[in-house]
């Protein structure tokens, strides 16, 4: 069990090892992709093993695996796998064009490995102090990736990212201190006072006043990572300036680690304070976030920023779903985490084709993608339809579940809020799909002038994550496999 958990965390480091062995973009990239595959496989194995025994704890709570942890590990390791495969082709293309020096390529793979490994280890610790450290560590690794191109714009985005999210994460540290303090009446050792499982079991004895403060600060602090409004301002910059595989990792991976921390704090707050307070806080931040995300979606412009605002919208939807609460709401939130992660990974990875092919990030200057790059065009179109919530893709199913949870919820004015959510979703749908359709259709540049990936083999490699991701997304819309359904239900039960 311990070995499996370690494998999940260590596999992504293969890429860094390859750099240590003096490999170049191709070798290090292949190692990264293989590491992603190994990591995904061990995450699934871990989930299966945990399914048999319920949960597992070792090293006095520093290692803690329950269904929720394995579920998030599967989602994020899938994203690492898709982004790892895409990285090979993307970095190879950048190296070919001499956009990035050999040093930058090596830097990329080392920090990609640390970033992936840091995110996955967040899910496997039961100690909330260690969780904080790992969240901050993965943030720092991703900052290097955002600023990698070392142009004025990417340095600016990286600076904004590091300073805003460091401040936010510092707030989350204060939340952790207050949580620790709220457990001071319990007769626990100082390690146990930060261990989620003990706190959850003794939730009723946590001091309400400081628990209330701890939860609010955790939502604000980790919410900065998640991109909850009004702490979201770093997100569009970082997502649009990072290399596209990194944008996919940020949007589909890092945001989920922050959300995972919020879910853990919410579970504690619900036991200690009753459901009303955490639900109100999450609904407030959730609706504000959906609103802000949708409003900026309407504006259009840079298409990577557009996709980033769509991520903000989806993180808002997930917090609204958690705010609606109950089995249905939490189930919808977790399903949405998976669907959004895959959909957004495909979307950002296909935006990599556009950036490399068209050499611009302005959606107004990208036309006729379907004729110039049929595969990337198709992926952009299908993935934005999927992310916007069109049936038969998975996001439709999860958003439908969330709206149903709203109508069924005991929260104040649940049906009204659910109706409002539907309205915002429709506006977001129209603006995202409108921009994507206008990019893929129309008169394209002459065939052969748009070449994102050199050679014959690299376009195939770059296509693999797009096709694979879309296939999974379509599959999840039609049918949630029995094992996955059980896993989500067990995860819901782990925090309710």
């Amino acid at each position: 069990m311990i070995a499996l958990a370690l494998l999940v965390v260590l596999f992504p480091l293969l890429g860094a090892l390859a750099v240590g062995a003096r490999c170049r973009a191709r070798g290090a990239g292949v190692a990264t992709a293989l590491g992603g595959a190994g990591c995904f496989a061990s995450a699934i194995a871990l989930a299966v093993r945990t399914g048999d025994i319920g949960h597992y704890q070792a090293w006095s709570g520093f290692l803690y695996v329950d269904p929720l942890a394995t579920y998030f590990a599967i989602v994020v390791s899938l994203v690492v796998l898709l982004a790892g495969v895409a990285s090979v082709a993307y970095l190879r293309a950048e190296e070919e064009r001499a956009e990035l020096s050999g040093f930058q390529v090596r830097l990329y793979f080392v920090f990609f490995a640390i970033f992936a490994s840091g995110m996955l280890s967040v899910f496997l610790t039961g100690n909330l102090g260690v969780l904080w450290i790992l969240v901050e560590l993965s943030t720092l690794a991703s900052v290097v990736l955002v600023g990698l191109e070392a142009k004025a714009r990417s340095l600016e985005a990286a600076w904004k990212y590091v300073i805003i999210s460091s401040f936010g994460v510092t707030i989350a540290l204060v939340a952790t201190l207050f949580l620790f303090y709220s457990a001071s009446g319990l007769h626990l050792s100082s390690d146990q006072r930060l261990t989620w499982a003990y706190l959850f079991a003794h939730g009723h004895s946590l001091v309400p006043a400081s628990m209330r403060l701890a939860f609010l600060l955790a939502v604000v602090g980790y919410g900065t990572k998640v991109g909850l409004a009004p702490m979201h301002t770093w997100l569009p910059d970082a997502h649009s300036e990072a290399p596209s595989p990194v944008s996919a990792m940020l949007s589909a991976g890092l945001l989920n680690t922050g959300m995972y921390a919020i879910i853990r704090f919410e579970a504690l707050a619900r036991v200690a304070l009753g459901p009303a307070y955490p639900s109100t806080v999450l609904l407030f931040f959730g609706f504000l976030t959906v609103f802000i995300g949708v409003m900026f979606l309407v504006r259009g412009g840079n298409y990577k920023r557009l996709f980033a605002y769509s991520s903000i919208e989806h993180m808002g939807i997930i917090s609204v779903a958690l705010g609606f609460g109950g089995t249905l709401g939490t189930y919808g939130a977790l399903l949405q985490v998976l669907n959004h992660a895959i959909g957004k990974a495909v979307l950002f990875l296909s935006s990599g084709h556009l950036v490399l092919g068209y050499r611009t990030r302005e959606s107004a200057r990208v036309r006729g993608v379907l004729s110039a790059l049929p595969l990337a065009g198709g992926a952009v179109l299908l993935a934005s339809l999927a992310v916007a919530g069109t049936p038969p893709f998975g996001v439709f199913l999860s958003e439908f579940t969330i709206v149903r949870a709203g109508f069924a919820s005991s929260a104040v004015a649940g049906p009204v809020l659910a109706g409002l959510l539907v309205l915002l979703l429709v506006i977001g749908f129209v603006s995202l799909v409108f921009t994507s359709v206008s990019m893929v259709s129309g008169e394209g540049p002459p065939k052969g002038s748009v070449v994102p990936y050199p050679g014959r083999a690299w376009p195939v490699v770059a296509a693999v994550p797009l096709v694979g991701g879309l296939a999974i997304l379509a599959l999840l819309g039609l049918w949630v496999p029995g094992g996955l359904n059980d896993l989500i239900l067990h995860s819901v039960r782990a925090v309710l």
């Binding site: 904080w132 340095l155 510092t170 540290l173 204060v174 009446g185 006043a209």
Partner: protein, 236 residues
């Protein structure tokens, strides 16, 4: 609520009362930290920022030492020495050598408010911190009751420095002040934080500072003058 919290406070914390010498020393070092933060807010010279930050960190290390001596805890002694070594010496030295001297930074001109305005806002924030941290929310008769509002004030003052100063070095110092405020609250409120977690927090702090230093130098080379106000390409 007050009684509940008083019960909740572990007995070891209650040994430290406001009237004791240790309590006075703790409050004193917290006040020194606050004065240093105001020094930063009221200064325009980059080298001063670093000096004030170093003074503040040494006061923080002293506060940790007082708590450690009082509880006779080896763990908190270790924490005090790490604080002194990293925050009091290593980070100020690195910032001085790698940023201030190498980039030849002297006067900070990228202020969005005047010095007196930011000092007044700072004073208001300090008052606000004392208002919101209600005495009844804290265990009675514990020295922490005066240090926690001061720690909160430091968090707010650091945030203020990050907002009104647009130079990246000033924003870095602002964040470090915030971090010191959190540590002050942490030491006085929950002195028994697990050492391994504290060590990890320090690791992150060092990594974050190094990465920020690298980015500040990169941005400065690109723009000649690293004011975040020049960083206006990304909007909306």
């Amino acid at each position: 609520m007050g009684t509940l919290l008083a019960v909740a406070a572990s007995p070891s914390v209650q040994r430290l009362s406001t009237s004791s010498i240790a309590g006075t020393l703790l409050t004193l070092s917290a006040v020194v930290m606050l004065v240093a933060a105001f020094g930063c807010l009221g200064s325009k010279l980059f080298s001063r920022y670093v000096v004030y930050y170093a003074v503040q960190s040494v006061a923080l290390a002293f506060a940790a030492g007082v708590v450690a001596y009082n509880f006779g805890s080896a763990q908190i002694w270790a924490l005090a020495f790490i604080t002194l070594a990293i925050k009091g010496i290593a980070i100020p030295l690195a910032t001085r050598r790698l940023l201030i001297q190498r980039l030849d930074l002297r006067r900070d001109v990228a202020l969005s408010t005047g010095l007196s305005t930011s000092l007044i806002i700072g004073a208001l924030l300090t008052g606000f911190a004392f208002l919101v941290i209600e005495p009844q929310d804290l265990p009675k008769g514990v020295v922490a009751s005066s240090a926690v509002p001061l720690g909160t004030a430091l968090v707010l003052l650091g945030g203020l420095a990050m907002v009104v100063r647009r130079h990246t070095v000033a924003q870095l110092i602002g964040w470090l002040i915030t971090e010191n405020g959190v540590f002050l609250g942490g030491i006085t409120l929950v002195s028994s934080f697990p050492l391994i977690v504290e060590a990890g927090i320090f690791l992150d702090l060092v990594a974050a500072t190094l990465i920020m230093i690298v980015f500040v130098s990169g941005i400065t080379r690109r723009l000649a003058e690293a004011t975040a106000s020049r960083l206006r390409e990304l909007r909306g």
